[in-house]
Symmetry: C2
Subunit: 143 residues, 2 copies
DNA sequence: GATAATCCTATAAAATCAGTAGACTAATCC
DNA sequence: GGATTAGTCTACTGATTTTATAGGATTATC
């Protein structure tokens, strides 16, 4: 399951994507509207900034805004940054690969193929879910 | 990522599936061959027994054995029992459903569809991965 | 009744998660 | 240039989960 941090991050990003191009949005506003504890959100947005998803501006009139257009930010990136590996086993992870201690015989591990297939399918779906697509869906649903 | 408990469970079950129909297998043997801490494995096998995947026999000549044929035991069941929900969000879980507190607007949550699709694809792959299929693959790889 | 095996309860160290506190830094406006 | 505003950074805390381990109780077999 995704951590709260990750869910908060996704909702905050969708909120920012809706306001893309309208200047910085303050942490407090996002926290209020998305019902996220402010201090926690502060740390999350900082991580997204260090992960090159967000930019920030300090001082009056400051806040956070997307570093790239909503089309260019998808959920794989967000999840990896705030939740860790997408794969269910370390030995089938692209970005967090580690050999499986549990596999007695690594090279032909019985279950590897199954979880490789799951990873591929999951990545495909997540990479299609970019922020622009999510915002578009939200607007449609509101009608 | 899957917990160690879950990975241990899967490997133990594949080991038992290979020996299906040959009588009970002792915890100690499984622990040795699959490099699983014996006491931890003890607890895991007990859980699989309570989950109606394994049967056990006490006393001399006792041990654990599959309660059903390997074809009838698939990874969805094992993962749910030893690792929890397969879905990435509680609001798209079949067996562990809970409403998402984080969703400000539950009914048309922006991200729900994406994770519903992922759950469906994952379930499809996992349900095809029954113990018989995994054993068959293992034998092929060993050649 | 000795032995061999699982069953059960309790405990504990380590890691992760979720959140908070408070001081620091930088930008803006007057 | 000083007050104000808003993000930055470090550290800490409490709760929960994970990964075990210990030790005795129970049951089946010979």
């Amino acid at each position: 399951m995704l951590s709260k941090k990750c869910k908060y991050a996704i909702h905050a990003l969708v909120y920012l994507a809706e306001r893309h191009g309208q200047g910085p949005v303050q942490i407090g506003e996002i926290a209020d509207r998305q019902k996220i504890p402010k201090k926690f959100l502060e740390a999350i947005l900082l991580e997204l900034r260090n992960g090159r998803i967000l930019n920030s501006k300090k001082g009056k009139g400051g806040g956070y805004y997307l570093q790239r257009s909503p089309e260019e930010i998808n959920l794989t990136e967000v999840i990896r940054l705030t939740n860790g590996p997408i794969a269910l086993l370390p030995c089938v992870s692209l970005n967090f690969y580690e050999s499986c201690e549990e596999c007695v015989n690594e090279k032909n591990c019985t279950i590897r193929t199954t979880f490789l297939t799951i990873r591929d399918e999951t990545l495909k779906i997540l990479s299609e879910s970019n922020l622009a697509a999510l915002v578009k869906k939200q607007k449609k649903d509101r009608k």
